[in-house]
Symmetry: C2
Subunit: 255 residues, 2 copies
């Protein structure tokens, strides 16, 4: 049990010791999993990086949009804030994900971003966004993809909330985390949740008790194992099946 916990913690594997004060565009493209253009200018273009402490708010809703950020390391929680003060979780950006792209539309951010873990981000000033787009086509393409990716991510979340039941949402959430951790070189099957049950509930449109119950339920079915924030995925195929079955049963189908 304790050994599990120790092994499951993903972050400590890569300390931020080597964190540079800046990052060139080529490395940035790699970080974003966007095939880096061979254009040598990408190596010459550098962006500053910034550290964000745990629980620190990097982007506040209503703030003027000065920068975009790409997560270099760490873990964030992104939320939409209604004028009435209601909150809706939007996602949990981690290494390679983008923050702040919502602010370009009006010049002010509508979503906030809070670090759930000691993190580091690459800072892309909006002014440089247009300036660099002008000077280097490869960078313009990079930026467009980076922003568009946010749309795809949100649309996928919309599918979760609109078409799936509670159990399927939680299952899909775990599988998504699993994939993303794996893509970063961590274990696909064992990891620690960085967010509270409340955060998960805000994101999935479920109450905290429901999240807890469903996690327990999945564990009882033998699909996962949960102890507090340590999760192990025991039967990924069955989890995937749970999501797809729910989609087939409850979601409206095309045709």
């Amino acid at each position: 049990m304790n050994a599990t916990l120790a092994a499951a913690a993903p972050t400590p594997i890569r300390p931020y010791a080597i964190a540079a004060a800046s990052m060139d565009a080529h490395t940035l493209a790699t970080l974003l999993h966007l095939d880096p253009d061979p254009d040598p200018v990408l190596h010459q273009t550098a962006f500053a990086t910034r550290h964000v402490r745990e629980k620190e708010t990097l982007i506040r809703a209503g703030d003027e949009c000065r920068n975009l950020y790409v997560v270099r390391s760490g873990f964030f929680r992104s939320s939409y804030l209604d004028r009435s003060g209601s909150i809706q979780g939007l996602g949990f950006p981690m290494t390679g994900d983008t923050l702040g792209a919502d602010g370009l539309a009006t010049g002010r951010h509508t979503a906030e971003a809070v670090a759930l873990d000691c993190s580091e981000v690459v800072v892309i000033p909006v002014a440089r966004l247009t300036a660099l787009s002008r000077s280097h086509a490869a960078l313009a393409t990079l930026f467009y993809r980076l922003i568009s990716r946010e749309i795809v991510r949100d649309q996928c979340s919309l599918f979760l909330l609109g078409s799936l039941g509670a159990e399927a949402r939680v299952a899909a959430f775990l599988l998504d985390l699993s994939d993303r951790f794996c893509a970063l070189g961590y274990s696909r099957t064992m990891f620690n949740l960085r967010m509270t049950r409340q955060d998960i509930g805000n994101y999935l449109g479920l109450k905290i008790e429901t999240v807890s119950r469903i996690l327990s339920g999945l564990a009882q079915q033998g699909l996962i194992s949960v102890h507090h924030r340590a999760v192990e995925i025991l039967d990924p195929a069955a989890l995937r099946l749970a999501v797809e079955d729910a989609a087939r049963r409850t979601a409206p189908r095309a045709g």
Copy 2:
């Protein structure tokens, strides 16, 4: 009964008499409600337009992303298609809205767009997107805003689905339509729904019966009047209150 309809029907010519075969960037910026940059180059840069017949699919999920589109006139339904065939409504783009921005991320569209009405769109080839960003900063800014707006829109929908009950979702949906019609110069209080109850349900994550029941309920409360697809908003303040009350009661609050 309707002079507009009567006049449009017998004319086999293009219903939009003034419709040009192309549109300059300055006019496009105005269409998008983005303050047009005074840069004279915007007047010299033109984009082709294209007609889309009713029920025609402009963008198919999986298609290669060659163009972005800005709706010049008409009405669309945009949907996300899961691999398993499940469908999730994403929105109902109309004049001034953008289509296809999801495709920039990977080069393939993940969402489809179907015209619910005879429509016309401005075509922005992806190749020109980067080329023009390179030559004109004003256009780059325009494009970034245009794409970012899609993110804001989706995040707002996420709030609807994740935080509001069925009645509030329908109320918010009606108010949104009302605002958008008003912004286009149509009546804020009386309009025809172009989409079926099924389309509304797909978008709001509700079953068709629920949508119907809630519309009837709102009508019985005297907030709206519904007959088939003709909607009249009788008490916008009460509708708005219904949304905000629901947000306060059911949605998790910040703090």
